[in-house]
Amino acid sequence: MQLVLSWPIRILVLGLLLFSLFVDGAGYIYRITNHYPLTGSVPGLPPNFNGWQLYVHKGLDLAGGTQLELQLSKFPAGRDRATVQQQTIDVITNRVNALGVNEPVVEPAGANHDRILVQLAGVSTTQAYNVIGRTAQLITTRWAPDPSVTGGPYPGYRPEITNLKSDMLTGANASLDSTGTQWVVNLTFNSQGAAAFSQLSTAAYSALSTCTAAQATTCPQNHLTEWLDLSQTDINNWNTDVGQVYRPVAQGGKLLTDPVIQQPITGGQAVISGSFTQQSAKDLATLLNSGSLPVAINVIQSTDVGATLGLTSIQQSLAAGLLGLIIVIVFMIAFYRLPGLLASLALIFYAGVALAVFKIVPVTLTLAGIAGFILSVGMAVDANVLIFERFKEELRAGRTIGAGVEAAVRRAWPAIRDSNTSTLITSVILIFAGSGSVKGFAVTLAIGVLTSLVSSIIVTHNLLAIVLNFGWARSDSLLGVHRGRIA
């Protein structure tokens, strides 16, 4: 135990404390050095020190948002499942990015490469699923005469899906058109697609001659129309649904573009123009590029937490944690007097260091994680209680104060070591076997136990050794013992 009281250890612990204070207060240090107000939102936060984002990562139950666990099925035959899973993740990531969510998580899960976990802050489950589950099929139609069609853009004509398919698309990108004022999306087809497009456009072009001069601009058979996700059902219900379907994608419809074909298009290149903004053109290009999902997906688990709910949870658990800490401190001081006070200081040290560790690792704090942390405050005290009870015994048995501290720490150590090891064993198992909230709980508990060992053994012991150098500290009433009754 001499090692614990040595100066290298003391300096190490002091360094740890200073470093933790820096990490804990990083946001405030940033505000002060840049002369920003201490509260409210400020540019440049959370602080970034050479790639270190020092802030508490909040789980979805605290930040609000959606978690989806997706089951993949109908894997394409003869392909490596891991590759297909990764490809699906890429597609989903592309789509999710369009939502502009902060730090989206899309990661592989499942023992058989058959699941994907998605976490999105500040988005509802429905919103998320609408984006993720989107099929993003580019559909090309021509207009076929159908006397039963009474309304829509071309009465007497119904769209007909052509053989130009989404999977013939090799690329899509957004750019400004030749005039440099309008955003357009350029499509490139493979040779098969180019051939199909050439044939379709030639037919549409030649249809111009069948229309009368008066019909020229509205000649339906002269149009080739591009849609996003137009389904056969939409076409079958054309008379009733046309209002919703024949409307730009940006306005909730499925129409991409409905141009007049002025010449046969043979190069496999097409342009979608319309009222695009830079963003909407890019989004569409991304969506078309990300293509369709290679597998079928099914939601097997979803969590949707409103933003305020998370905020309330944070406030409640902070209040609970603070109250718990105060109760423990009052209790320790009432019971163990001066050593109790020192243990309380060690406890505050412990809370500061643990918080810093959470920020650095970083640990994503969930409600269960905070519970684990608060609980480890209780465990942190235990080692001190063991030492102090031993200390009282040793003094009663007639040891001097100095020898009493030494003996107490030495004799309490095996119990502290064994009990904390068994808690760590449980935590580690939970980290590996547990799911979601259980894992979060185990991680904070394990970090808490390790930190509490440092604080209760090293910090308390050193503080005690230092304070006991002063004569006034060596009084029985301050130490909470009644030696007089034994002698």
Partner: protein, 322 residues
Amino acid sequence: MEGSPDLTAAALPAQPQSRVRTVDVVGHRNWYFALSLVIILPGMFFMVTRGFLLGIDFAGGTEFFYQFQRPASVSQIQSVLSADGVTGSVQAASKATYIIRTGPMNPGQQQTLENDLEARLGPINQSTKQINEVGPSIASETVTGALYAIISASILILLYLAFRFRKVQGGWRSGFQFGGSALLALLHDVFVLTGVFSILGEGLGLRVGQIDSLFLTAVLTVVGFSVHDTIVVFDRVRENLILSQRLTFEQVVNLSIMQTAARSIITSFTVVLVLLALILFGGETLRGFILALLIGIISGTYSSIFNASQLLVVWRKLQPVR
């Protein structure tokens, strides 16, 4: 100290025997075992005959927490559910919030239900809503994972303790006696906890008694705490066995319990205080979890003082160590 007439004190020069009030907790062990059984047996009866009230992460299903901006009632919500052809239960919670529990529903179905509720009962507060959906396949995996976690934690703790106590007279056999007794005390706490929750959830139909992954977390925490307390006593037994060769094993155990009881009670009391703070301020979602911890910690303290070491004594009698 030297002139002390107390036999135990003379045997342990560094120990302050004169201050330890001695109660024969080892001799009266059968009473303590009986008290434990009085709590465990009804719980086990309920577990076997009725089972548990399972939360959605174990049973599968969907749970909606909706706060309505206009007054609503359970029966109104129920009628919307039946109009949608959804079977489920509705429970009123605080602050105009209702908890709706149904079978597994995909995001599209969830949205339809939400739209229909809003159409009939007015807007739902989007910032306080919560929806959890767990499919049946996930649920069964969680249950298996839970069982594996508890079993593997128990085995590892047993092995660790056997390793730590193998130096006690009797070697590994003795080590396993210590570890095994700690394990039995741990199972005591697990059974008390699951039994009480079976009675609360299935017997009394209280939602607070539902078994979910947070409950599992509570059980494992209790396991950790219970072993903590037991180890402190056993560690003292180990120390006293070396210091006092003249005492019988029973006397050593009793002495060790007396010396450590204050610490066990103080530590548990501190944790109980922290938990009470959590119950007062923590949200409704954590209430069952904290209740489980409270029951478990109290049971853990009891078993470490009144069961674990007594089991060790009984075990030593049945299987003497040299």
